[in-house]
Amino acid sequence: MSGRSNARKQPKVKEKVIIDENNPMLRAFRAYSMELDAKHDRYERIVKLSRDITIEAKRIIFLLHSIDIRKGNKEKVLEEAQQRLEKVIKVNFKAVAQEMHNLDPYQYRGAYAPGLQEFIEAYSFMEYMRYADDNSTSLDNEASMSDWQQLQGKMQYIEAETNDEISAEMKEHKLSFHVEPSEYILGISDLSGELMRRCINSLGSGETDTCLLICKVLQHLYKGYIGLSIPRCRELSRKIHTMRQSVLKAEDVCYNVKVRGGEAAKWGLESEKPNVDIDEGFF
């Protein structure tokens, strides 16, 4: 049976070459093929850009975790993290924005969403570290995390474009990267994992005040999330569940600090350490 169908396919390939020019069906398909290829290529390019953003964002988060009061490196690390984040906005997100210029941003959402979420996580973590820093020096600071509109505001680009027809004239056009609120909310939910890690680490280094502060922030964050009623979003409900685990862990830390004092709590929590490593909050 298959032998026969192969035999039939052979002339078909030949036929394709011969009648290519005057068969309207094949001509139409050639055009479709080009359109599909263009779409897939663009998708792949955006996936690549997104992956770079993810990697850099993870590194920045790692960098921010290295802040240690005993080393006194807070200022330096924060400065570096901020610069690197700005660079991601200026270079990587701009490239994504260029790819999607004049296109429906939702079409390639699947391609850039992981990078965007990771970036939002890193950015808000940096803001948190800055906030915690300010908090210790002045009590009347009004800082809070940026919302999606503020991030959106940062992702505006003006591009100079040389027009081929009027070669001397430089045309400027505006580009912007669309920060989808849903992606923002998903990105922020990952922040809870980082805060929890920070909380545990602070316990290790004896900064019990930080533990209490983080716990409060986490509780606040959790309050915000359970208030949302979002139909048909599996991803978010999964993240809220994870967030609950983080909140519980942080609360446990605070409890131990209270009853046993900072030093003993560190030992009491040792058994939970492997757990902590698994749940990195990276999604």
Binding site: M25, F29, H40, E127, V217
Partner: protein, 250 residues
């Protein structure tokens, strides 16, 4: 001490989502209307499997229903904010594919060639280019055409049952071209690819029908007993010129 977590973010997000849900609700209503129309047209076309003489009539009726769809698409397009087609498109991709299938079927039954994406878009009052507004997505078009292939393989069997032995030959040639067309595409590993993989079974089924007819030398009585191959060729030329002509007319 102010708090780092600004709870108004969540209020704003809830508003944003509520707004989106409202739009989705409206879209769902409109899509349901289109579904109704599509079902009607699909039912009208089922007659081809039991009565060949009513094909023209069925096509005419189906065309009217399709025209009604185009009005509903117009209302649907007004619900979608500019540049957010793909945010909501999951609501209507399935039904659009179904409609592409019906239109392709009608055009094949009437004229014997494959309807182009441009023509389908025009019949539904859609654009082909994303930049021009509410458009017919290329993948939806290609999926719809693949659905037609399965229907044609069924039609080939039934037309033999109803005593028309020429039709399977034509369908077979048509499907061979279609298959060649799809082979030009570089498909990603996605739904379209999966659906395309099923095309070979449709092609095989039609080839078997053609084989059964040829080894028994079955021919329509009305057909002149001239050289069959030359007959085939003239027919093919006719259909391809016809196709070009119609495309240009539109």
């Amino acid at each position: 001490m102010s708090n780092f977590v600004n709870l108004s973010i969540f209020e704003n997000y809830q508003k944003y989502i509520d707004n989106e849900q409202e739009i989705r609700e409206k879209i769902r209503l409109m899509v349901r209307k289109i579904e109704q129309n599509t079902k009607e047209a699909a039912i009208q076309l089922q007659i081809i499997h039991c009565d060949l003489s009513k094909i023209d009539n069925a096509c005419e009726k189906a065309r009217k229903t399709i025209a009604a769809c185009s009005e509903n698409y117009q209302s649907l397009s007004e619900l979608i904010p500019i540049g957010q087609y793909y945010r909501y498109s999951d609501h209507w991709t399935y039904i659009t594919q179904r409609l592409v299938f019906i239109i392709a079927m009608v055009v094949y039954l009437e004229a014997g060639f494959l309807v182009t994406r441009e023509t389908v878009a025009e019949m539904l009052g859609l654009k082909t280019n994303q930049a021009d507004g509410f458009h017919l997505d290329i993948e939806d078009y290609l999926m719809g055409i693949l659905q037609m292939a399965s229907e044609l393989s069924r039609f080939a069997t039934n037309s033999v049952t109803l005593g028309d032995y020429d039709r399977p030959l034509h369908i077979s040639r048509f499907m061979a071209n279609l298959n060649a067309g799809y082979r030009l595409l570089n498909l990603k590993n996605d739904g379209l690819r999966k659906r395309f993989d099923a095309l070979k079974y449709d092609v095989k089924k039609i080839e078997e029908v053609v084989y059964d007819i040829s080894i028994r030398g079955l021919k329509n009585i009305t057909n002149e007993a001239t050289d069959e191959t030359s007959n085939k060729e003239t027919e093919e030329n006719y259909s391809s010129t016809n196709a070009v002509g119609t495309v240009e007319n539109i």
